[in-house]
């Protein structure tokens, strides 16, 4: 098993403030039909803003966004799409519901990157260590450091998101208390 890759190197895609989770990030229809396959969803990212955009993303590219990225009714589909495309996220803020969904999707992110949209232009080459919070703009030769996810959430990202982390927890519970009265039976 190879070590989890906390460092992404790729191009910046810069967005403004208040990118909506429904409509901007992902068409609402995918939430309504409860589509949760990242491989399906990745092809529809930002489709209503620019229908050709998803095809131009490369794994390792970074979404750089302003305040309240993925605001709105907390649907997970857009976050799963970002993960499916192998993208990272650097945002000035992410509202609570979407933050939870982004962790659940296993998305590498710096969700409290104040002033982030001033630190890159679309097309800049970036290198970001999501474990430490070190942001490097290789095109500009600049560096910033923002708060990384707390260790307790990094472990969820590292195993691949909520489903994998939940599966691990069930296995640990089974190992610890095989005969407990309420133990999940696996």
């Amino acid at each position: 098993m190879t070590a989890f890759n906390w460092v992404l190197r790729g191009s910046a895609w810069v967005f403004g403030h208040d990118v909506a989770v429904d409509g901007d990030l992902m068409p609402l229809e995918f939430a309504l039909r409860r589509e949760t396959d990242p491989e399906v969803l990745r092809h529809h990212l930002f489709a209503q803003l620019d229908s050709g955009l998803a095809a131009r993303f490369r794994p390792g590219d970074i979404i750089v966004a302003g305040r309240r990225f993925a605001q709105g009714n907390p649907h997970i589909q857009g976050l799963l799409g970002l993960r499916g495309a192998g993208l990272g996220l650097v945002a000035e803020s992410v509202p609570g519901g979407s933050f939870r969904n982004a962790v659940s999707a296993g998305l590498r992110m710096l969700p409290r990157a104040e002033g982030a949209i001033g630190e890159a232009a679309t097309g800049d080459a970036l290198e970001i260590d999501f474990r430490t919070g070190l942001f490097r703009n290789l095109t500009r030769g600049t560096e910033r450091r923002w708060p990384p996810l707390p260790p307790g959430l990094q472990t969820i990202i590292e195993v691949g998101g909520w489903e994998a982390s939940f599966r691990q927890r069930l296995a640990m519970m089974k190992a610890a208390e095989p005969a407990g009265p309420n133990a999940p039976r696996l």
Binding site: L28, S93, W162, L170
Partner: protein, 421 residues
Amino acid sequence: MPTAAEKILSRACGRAVAAGDIVHPVPDLVTLHDWYVTHAAAALDRFGVTEVQRPERVLVSTDHEPVATSPAAVLRQAQARQAAARFRFGMFHDVGREGLGHVFPVERGILGPGMLAMGYDIHLTNFGAVGALGLYVLNEVTELLACGSVWTEVPETVRVTVRGSLAPGVTVRDAAQRFIAEADPQVLDDAVVEFAGPAMATLGIDSRMTLMNTPVELGARSALAEPDAVTEAYLRGRYRPGVEAARSDADAGFRARLDLDLSAVEPQVAVPPRPECAVPVGEVAGQRIDHAYIGSCASGFLDDLRLAAGLLRGRRVAPHVRLFVTPVTQAVQAAAAREGLLEVFAGAGAIVTAPGCGICAGGRIGGVGRGEVSIGTGTRNDPGRLGHPDAALYLAGPLTVAASAIAGEICDPRQALGWPA
């Protein structure tokens, strides 16, 4: 010193925790509704889980679609019943048993000050009306069921001092809409919004549920009303304290302190596409409507029905408008019947639907069509929320909705009531 939310989560974690900590609290109550319980059960099956932790604390309510009117809905209800039996959920409130699950746990004294509820849906924040902290965890409620806990970040608290009094013709829903229209989303983001102050003495539990319901629309995590004499009087005889009530210390580390002056509020209408897009009613008065709705976990309480009936008594809904009224719970419906409110609605040409979420749950009953205009007291007005995505959805308090239904266009309820606007 700790906030009320920190105290509640510290108890549920069995150790002192503070804002920013990632924790796994054990809640006193877990809530799910009819539209998610089948997904949760399917997920439990997929992960091979056959028993849930503390099933006696799990509450499931059939409130989003209590009257099944399609084969798919009949099947979903059957699956929910099977799931409730199979996983031995302790509190399964099926069709006709209580009503809206964000409300009756308060009515029935299942929750009280200092308790922690966690669940799927964002609107369990209503429980804050009696000083219980409601935290939504979305689809990870499956882990909560299987393992007895799931991660949450201990939220910071924004303290709101409520002052003044509502002018005639203005409702607490107007104040709640004004609050989220004016608040900085960055300040409220992921915080518990805690309401206290002199004017809280004038707000009963119905009003408090309305106030607790709206901040989450702007991105707050939850809301709490500081327990006081109103709480105590309401809970007397219906709730037996199991845990210690929690109040924030005077020197607690609040993220921010805000004021809400009820006297400065006038009737509000949230225009499409989001609940925080609220403007004074005068700015949209005259907008013709086709559809009107009074109900939802934000505003389908007995107080709301009384206000609406007060305006509708002896009047008729405009010929081109259909008005739906949904009491939140069976108890509210029964009280409305006792007080003669249901007779008023029937006489005015309105339809009273089964207790629960009503139209607000996706417009599955009494929804809107393409190009129609609706004004209602639902929680959200995203395009498509009440049916067709090309309908225009406005949100308002029960007086504005009732006055508009009579007029056939959005109108200031103070005119209908004979008060100066």
